[in-house]
């Protein structure tokens, strides 16, 4: 058996006041130690809420049930003092827009060191040394320390933010759309940095994104979320080459790509279900080409593919998709 | 919201955060307004009828709030006084809001030299105390309600124009304004039809707060014997008239208008602050 996973979410259910269905419903998700896992979903799928639950950052009025274990400890039940420690060191987070995550009036050096020196885990001198070391790891030199955020590019700033996230030596690094605000070429640079860091520091990485191609390109395993539920999960290549959930297949087909035929895309008709309306059966049934009566009546449970226990899909008709793979 | 309403310190601390105080103040402001409108029909006595025999009489069935030093019914004077006391600030607020929005909008939209000229000149007014300006204008123009109203409107204009300017600058940067320009709408059309309705709630909240301050300033001027003609019932004037009565040991006729001034100012302030808080918190 592998060591304790960095993040282990079991049956997470989050309800918000004034909604007819939970925003997260029975989410199971694991990030192994040193593993890169992508959580893919469109806006409103609950992917950000799911990832933030690892820090017990719930939306206002949200009530969470289930277990969210970070390095073996349940963050949902721990006391405030322990939670602060977890937030300060065990789990780190990188946000979408680096410019919004950094105080523009403070030097980058202060931004890097203030977290650990304020928490008292490191002396200022050690913190400064570590900051230089981490900047080196993300491909920047020490001269950046004395600069202000406005003096460096967005891609460089995102690498600074990643270095800052690693200051507390976290077990789990969460990146919520860390490259969406960046150009494609800087995106590659940030992804390259994240990949190197994982090998070097053995940090578990949860990569939250809407981009299925990006997720497949960088992660070991992928979870696809739809309307607060995990639709499909499995190894990146398998999920890409042989999706077992019609939503994954449709998402792959509707992405404009550099390969394959040009012209019209296979768009998914309709819209994701509204939070104000209750869901009885499968959340995707209304937009699904394979939907039958059973899909409207019973919510499908995740079930593994025959012979491949690590590739699961929550669909009554997974077997119909088998073999009819959408070529990527 | 980038713009911040201008509030004077002190009164702004009386903030109603979802408390019944806000409702009480709203009711009070409404009551004073209704009293002012209906005053001529509900006053029990002629406010200027002098009955020297009963001067400084205490409350009685005939005169529930007593008489003043000149033997006039205090209740009637209070009710009718509400008219002048509210009409003045209303004039100040209407004029300063309309002119302030025009100035602020022109400055923000055109920018460049026009912005510099308008912003600098409103700052000049800021630097000059409103009361002093009012006294100056009254001394030139003579007695009457119009002169102090115009003077104070000028003094309050910068509060509105500065707020409007910053709101319009923020609104102008939004792509929907560019979209309307691309569509061929004229600047004036875009300003009046789209920008103005979007910034109006915040500006009107500021004007409500200004109303309270203007009432206080006008009452102050009346107390100094400036502005309102001698016989017109007015709260500030009543305080002035009642001074000697207080010294003589009959405070009622002077204290009551004081209380009304304070309560009304507080009521408008709380209502305006609350409104300002709500519109600035509202997510778009």
């Amino acid at each position: 058996m592998r060591p304790t996973p960095a993040l282990d979410v079991r049956g997470l259910r989050v309800t918000l006041p004034g909604t007819a269905r939970p925003v997260l419903d029975g989410v199971d998700l694991t990030v192994g130690a040193g593993e890169t896992v992508a959580l893919v979903g469109e806006s409103g799928s609950g992917k950000s809420i799911a990832s933030r639950s690892a820090l017990r950052l719930l939306p206002t009025g949200g009530v969470a049930e289930g277990e969210v274990r970070v390095a073996g400890e349940d963050v949902l039940t721990m006391d405030a003092a322990r939670l602060r420690q977890v937030r300060a060191g065990t789990v780190a987070m990188v946000f979408q827009d680096p410019c919004a995550a950094v105080n523009p009036l403070r030097r980058i050096g202060d931004f890097l060191t203030e977290g650990v020196t304020l928490a008292g885990t490191m002396s200022p001198a050690r913190a400064a040394a570590r900051a230089v070391e981490l900047l080196g790891a993300v491909g920047l030199d020490g001269s950046v320390l004395r600069k202000y955020p406005g003096q460096v590019s967005g891609g460089m700033l995102q690498r600074v933010v990643i270095a800052a996230a690693l200051m507390g030596d976290p077990v789990l690094l969460m990146a919520d759309e860390p490259t969406t605000a960046l150009d494609v070429t800087s995106q590659a640079e940030v992804i390259a940095v994240l990949a190197t860091l994982r090998e070097r520091f053995g940090t578990g990485l949860l990569f939250v994104t809407h981009d299925l191609d990006l997720a497949a390109a960088i992660s070991d395993r992928v979870y696809v979320m739809y309307a607060g539920r995990i639709a499909e999960s499995g190894p990146a290549e398998a999920l890409f080459a042989r999706p077992r959930h019609p939503y994954t297949a449709a998402l792959l087909a509707s992405t404009p790509r550099m390969e394959g035929p040009r012209g019209r895309l296979a768009a998914i008709d309709g819209q994701p279900p509204d939070l104000r309306e209750p869901l009885r059966g499968c959340a995707f049934a209304a937009r699904c080409p394979l939907a039958t009566e059973v899909c409207d009546e019973r919510a499908p449970l995740p079930s593994p593919a025959p012979g491949r226990p690590d590739h699961t899909a929550a669909c009554h008709h997974s077997d119909l998709l088998e073999g009819s793979a959408v070529d990527a | 919201m980038t713009a911040v309403l201008t509030r004077r310190p002190g009164l702004s601390r009386i903030r109603a955060t979802g408390s019944p105080l806000h409702l009480v103040c709203l009711a009070l402001a409404a009551l004073v307004a209704v009293a002012a409108v209906l005053a001529p029909w509900v006053v029990p006595h002629d406010p200027n009828a002098v009955d020297l025999g009963n001067a400084l009489a205490g409350p009685s069935a005939e005169h529930p709030l007593g008489m003043d030093a000149a033997g006039r019914d205090t209740l009637s004077r209070l009710l009718l006084g509400a008219r002048t006391s509210l009409l003045g600030p209303l004039g100040v607020v209407v004029f300063s809001t309309v002119a302030g929005i025009a100035v602020g909008m022109a400055a923000a939209w055109r920018g460049g030299w026009l912005d510099s000229v308008l912003s600098r000149s409103t700052e000049l007014v800021f630097a000059f105390p409103g009361m002093l300006l009012a006294i100056l204008i009254i001394s030139v123009h003579g007695e009457g309600l119009l002169a102090p109203v115009i003077a104070l409107a000028l003094a309050y204009l910068p509060y509105v124009s500065r707020l409007t300017r910053s709101l319009v600058l923020a609104e102008r940067a939004r792509p929907y304004v560019s979209a309307y320009r691309v569509q061929g709408h004229s600047a004036l059309q875009i300003c009046l039809r789209h920008v103005l309705p979007n910034i109006a709630p915040v500006v009107l909240a500021q004007s409500t707060i200004n109303f309270g301050y203007a009432l206080m300033d006008l009452a102050g001027l009346s107390f100094l014997g400036l502005g309102v003609p001698a016989l017109t019932p007015d709260w500030g004037r009543m305080v002035f008239d009642g001074q000697t009565a207080i010294q003589a040991g009959y405070p009622l006729s002077a204290v009551l208008p004081c209380v009304f001034i304070v309560l009304t100012v507080v009521a408008f302030n709380v209502v305006g602050e609350r409104w300002a808080d709500r519109v600035s918190r509202r997510a778009r």
């Binding site: 012209g263 | 792509p175 929907y176 560019s178 979209a179 691309v182 039809r193």
Partner: protein, 265 residues
């Protein structure tokens, strides 16, 4: 009849010492679709804003249907004529609609301005239909609509003017993948039906490949490569175009090599 609906020659614009747009020229044939691709700071958005008239150029000429597009319009007639030449759909559907104006009012306002004194009801219905919005959406305020629906409203508003050219400034970048596909298909339908020329401003090569015939690649304000989309994307000549192509994530993608190539360029 002029063959090109839009001709841009030698466009220049500097902000201080920065050359935001430097000698940019391109043509858009009648009913064609041209993509301007580049990263942030490449000058693609400034180019679009100059073409539509939200920004002025220091130098250069813009011809629409062979007629020069002059400076800031004087008077109502000139303004409206200018608006009928080129329309634009903006990136953020959450900010490009007035939050207080309903869908139908948006369309009526535009129709009333450009085609006064007519009954606009059938045209409003036609436009809503054309962009795939039901009449039920007509009374809705923007905040009650999803991102995709708002972008449909913005497209309908632009179409109401009946322009010769439609500029789409990152018009699908803020949308979810499944919605993005719907909007791209809708735009393809509209081009077939109306023959409006499309100018796509985007950073997404997948989108460009899907919807354009010709492509202009910009970097630091200048055009580095231009030609037929197929050709440029299958055999790029400029190293920057190659870098952009390689940066698109795909299975077996090597971010390290791209990062190295980017530093080398």
């Amino acid at each position: 009849m002029p063959e090109n609906v839009l001709e841009v020659t030698g466009l220049r614009r500097s902000f201080g010492a920065v050359r935001a747009v430097d000698e940019v020229s391109f043509t858009l044939p009648q009913g064609g679709s041209l993509g301007i691709v580049g990263e942030s700071g490449s000058g693609k958005t400034t180019t679009a804003r100059i073409v539509v008239g939200l920004e002025r150029a220091d130098e250069g000429e813009i011809l629409v249907r062979g007629r020069p597009r002059g400076g800031p319009p004087r008077g109502r007639t000139a303004r409206l004529a200018r608006a009928r030449e080129i329309q634009m759909v903006f990136q953020d559907p959450y900010l490009s609609l007035d939050p207080r104006t309903s869908v139908e009012a948006v369309l009526r306002e535009t129709l009333g301005l450009h085609f006064p004194g007519r009954d606009h009801t059938p045209r409003v219905r036609e436009l809503l239909d054309q962009v795939g919005l039901g009449t039920r959406a007509a009374d809705a305020l923007p905040r009650h609509l999803s991102g995709g629906q708002r972008q449909r409203v913005a497209i309908a508003r632009a179409l109401a003017v009946e322009p010769a050219v439609l500029i789409l400034d990152e018009a699908v970048a803020a949308l979810d993948v499944s919605v993005q596909a719907q909007i791209l298909n809708l735009l393809a339908d509209i081009r077939e039906q109306t023959g409006i020329g499309f100018l796509f401003i985007t950073h997404d090569l997948g989108v460009v490949r899907c919807v354009t015939d010709e492509i202009v690649v910009m970097r630091h304000g200048a055009v580095v490569e231009q030609g037929a989309t197929d050709e440029v994307l299958s055999s790029p000549r400029h190293p920057y175009t190659r870098l952009l192509l390689e940066s698109v994530p795909r299975p077996g993608w090597d971010p390290q090599a791209i990062a190295a190539a980017r530093r080398a360029l």
